[in-house]
Homo-oligomer: 191 residues x 2
DNA sequence: ACCTGAACACCGTTCAAGT
DNA sequence: ACCTGAACACCGTTCAAGT
C-alpha cells in the first residue's frame, strides 16, 4: 500500500525530522517504552506536535524503523541467489536477530503487531515474514529444513529468542538461537 | 532459604489474605501489570497496606504464585520415576507452559527474574530450573535429548515460547512448542 | 504493630487557543 | 496548516499522622 506523500510545510518537515532523530536516540537509550514527552522535549517541539505527526507510539516506531526493516527484505532477496539455501536462511536469521534487538522492547512490539492488521507495524512485519518465507521455502526445497515450518513460525521463533536475549547475556542468546535453528533442520520432525 | 514466619496480628493476616485474593483476580483479568491501587481497593485496604506487605509487585506475584510454582517442582520429581525419560520431559514441559501462562505478562516477569538474584521471584525460578535440570539430565542419559542443552536453556526456551503464545492463537503456541522440543532431540546437533 | 490516605512525581493523550 | 502547552486522567510510591 503506497502512501502518496503530500508536500509538507517547511517547519512541519523540520519538526518531523527532528522527532525521528530524537525518537531514535530515546529508543536506543531507554527502549521502546521511552517517554514520548521526553522525545518531544529533545526534539524541541510541543507534545501536541509529536501526536500530530505520530498518533501512536507504534506509528513513531514504524517511521523510525521503516528503512531498517525494508533492508531486511532486500537482504532476503540477495541471499536467495547465494550458495547453500540452508546457509542463506541461517545468515538471514542472524540479520533478523540484529534488527529486532536494536531497541530493548522492540521484539515485544513486533510480536504484538505480527497478527494485528490494525498495528502501524503490521506492514513491516508482513514484509519481514515474506522475506523469511522465500528463504525458508528455498531451504525446504533443498531438504535443509523440515517442511512443516512456516515463515510466520520462523519469524516468531526468532523474535521470541531475541526477546529472551534481552534478559540474558549475549552468549546465551546465541546458544538459544542455535538450538532453535538446529532444531528446524529436516529429519527432526516427530509429531 | 526457609523464612521463619512470625505470627501476624489478626487484622494484618486478614488483610494479607484479602490482598492475595484480590491480586490473583486482578492478575488473571488484566495481567501482571494490573493496577496495584485497584488491587488494594478490591481488597478493601489502603494502598500503604499493600506496600507494607508486598514492597514490590514481584513480591506480590511471588506470594500469589508460590504454591503453583512449587507444585511444578513436585511434578518434576514425580515424573522422574515414570516410564520414558523423553516423554517425561515433554509432559513436564507442557506443565511448565500451563503455569507460565496463567497470567498475561507472567512469562516476561519470570524471564527477567531468571538471572536476577535480587528478584523476589529468583528462588521460584531456581526451583523450576532445578526440576527441569533433573528431567533433562535423565532424558539426556537416555539419549533422547542433545547433550549440550542445560536446564536454563530449556526453561528459557519454554518461557520464550509461552511469551510468544500470548500474541498468537493457542494452535500456533502449540506448534512453536513442538518445533522447539522436537528440535532438542539428540542427533540434531550441528554446531 | 499496623493501617490510612494525602502528597508527590511522572506519564499519556486531548484539545482550545494561537500563529 | 500547523504548533503549543495547559488540562485531564491515571498510576506508582512514600510517609506523616493516626489507632
Amino acid at each position: 500500500m503506497e502512501t502518496v506523500q503530500r508536500p509538507m510545510r517547511a517547519d512541519a518537515r523540520r519538526n518531523y525530522e527532528r522527532l525521528l532523530t530524537a525518537a531514535h536516540a530515546a529508543f536506543a537509550e531507554q527502549g521502546t517504552e521511552a517517554s514520548l514527552e521526553e522525545v518531544a522535549r529533545t526534539a524541541g517541539v510541543g507534545i501536541g506536535t509529536l501526536y500530530r505527526h505520530f498518533p501512536t507510539r507504534r506509528a513513531l516506531l514504524e517511521a523510525v524503523l521503516h528503512d531498517s526493516l525494508a533492508g531486511l527484505d532486500t537482504r532476503a532477496r540477495e541471499l536467495l541467489g547465494s550458495g547453500s539455501p540452508g546457509e542463506a536462511l541461517l545468515e538471514w536469521t542472524r540479520h533478523l536477530m540484529a534488527h529486532v534487538t536494536v531497541y530493548r522492547g522492540l521484539a515485544a512490539t513486533l510480536m504484538s503487531s505480527f497478527d494485528d492488521p490494525a498495528s502501524e507495524l503490521y506492514g513491516a512485519c508482513e514484509r519481514v515474514r515474506v522475506g523469511g518465507d522465500a528463504l525458508l521455502a528455498s531451504a525446504q526445497r533443498a531438504g535443509a529444513v523440515r517442511d512443516d515450518v512456516t515463515g510466520a513460525d520462523l519469524t516468531k521463533l526468532v523474535n521470541a529468542v531475541a526477546w529472551a536475549g534481552e534478559h540474558c547475556d549475549d552468549d546465551t542468546a546465541e546458544r538459544l538461537l542455535t538450538l532453535v535453528m538446529d532444531g528446524l533442520r529436516a529429519g527432526n520432525r516427530r509429531s
